[in-house]
Symmetry: C2
Subunit: 233 residues, 2 copies
DNA sequence: GTCCGATTACTCGATCCAGAGTACTCCGTG
DNA sequence: CACGGAGTACTCTGGATCGAGTAATCGGAC
């Protein structure tokens, strides 16, 4: 049981809030916002209500009462069940103890980088680097931070994000240096490849020409080629 | 145009592949796998086929022919359109040049960490750290790596992932040290909070007691309290 | 020569989710 | 006292996504 529906951490946050005290969905969203959790847990209304509904269906929370205050719309107050508490504990333990593979947009972008030539990539990464440095400044100046004296315990996720940000800055910066200095391995091949494409050669012709011009660097290709295209017409 | 459907980078990868040469979807998936792109771009059949369909609907690719080879099922070969090439260029430029906020599972977990007490967190993070170190070893020994002599250009995303991995190891390791040494800010408050909960006090009672015991550390609370609960019944 | 398991090539359906839309109320402003 | 804008509290819809399922074929082992 409790099997597949552990994708959206918003559901875990909901369990956490109801573990403190019963609440209605809208209050959950405002509480999360007050606590600066919208920075680390993606929150939007649509998801919140469907997540709550799904938790209820699975018996992890129950509707305690629906209140109408004044002429305001009805509010349904939920509370956590015993099963819900167990699921919360298991789930959070799992998230803390077991790293999971995550796919970020930038990793995807890096892996598709060869679509562009090295010079275009340099320009684009320069823009990125500027933007990342601005982000770091914002952090440093506490702009992105919480009320003074806010306990570290409740901001630990921001510290982690900051560490990742610094790493990305270092990475992009180092990559840029190598690209600009021309010391990046294979940059000559890469540049030539785009030159040939730019001259209107077909992909096959480009491959052919490069194989001749860069024999050694492309030695790995021949190792693969037997298995790679067994039935290329 | 080309507005909202830029969520799934798999679509960008498809455009990239068809920019090289026409292909049928299954070939796209095997090509991506050969090139080790499944590590940085989430790929599964269901998504691939619906992504291809949606690209076609948007006029970014077109079906060139459907081939039946032997008695095998039909294969539809697609090619990229001019609009598709433009979209590919714009999209990849955007991904490289503009950092986007990403939400990871571990950030969510960190932000919900206070649900547990410090001692449980230590145990869980120790498990995580072991696992992260194993991952790093695997990288170092080239287990997770490609054919010898594979050009760096095509593995740059793995380098980035490795940098992030090292940062996470450092972060978790430093956090653990502080928690174990008791030098983590507010750890006493945190521990006491779980002690009181464990003794069966209600959340409100806990808050009350902590406010008395840890006046200074909780000063930020009083600043908020006016605006925080204007209508708490 | 037939059986097994891997590979090829998709299809389907049940969620999931984002974001726009709705509707009502409260509060201040002129 | 009419108006506008912010806040409260959801609802709806259509597309995205995931993973299991299907069905055929091929190559090798026995």
């Amino acid at each position: 049981m409790a099997g597949r529906t552990r994708a959206n951490p918003l559901a875990l946050a909901v369990l956490g809030l109801l573990y403190e005290r019963p609440m209605h969905p809208y209050e959950m969203s405002s509480t999360l916002r007050e606590r600066r959790k919208e920075d680390s847990i993606k929150l939007n209304y649509g998801s919140l209500y469907s997540v709550v509904e799904s938790l209820q269906k699975r018996g992890l929370i129950t509707a305690r009462e629906t209140v109408r205050e004044g002429r305001r719309p009805e509010r349904t107050v939920y509370e956590i069940t015993e099963a819900g508490t167990t699921e919360m504990t298991d789930w959070l333990s799992d998230l803390l103890a077991r790293p999971v593979k995550e796919f970020t947009q930038f990793e995807a972008a890096l892996s598709l980088m060869p679509i562009f030539g090295p010079d275009e990539v340099v320009t684009l990464l320069e823009t990125r680097l500027r933007s990342l440095r601005e982000q770091r400044l914002a952090y440093d100046h506490g702009t992105a931070s919480a009320p003074a004296n806010f306990p570290r315990l409740f901001l630990i996720e921001a510290e982690f994000k900051y560490a990742l940000l610094r790493t990305e800055i270092e990475f992009v910066s180092a990559l840029l240096d190598e690209l600009r200095a021309g010391t990046f391995e294979g940059v000559a091949l890469w540049r030539r490849m785009h030159e040939l494409r730019g001259e209107g050669h077909s992909p096959e012709a480009v491959e052919q020409l490069l194989a001749e011009e860069f024999k050694e660097e492309l030695s790995w290709l021949s190792e693969l080629s037997d298995t790679q295209r067994p039935e290329q017409g």
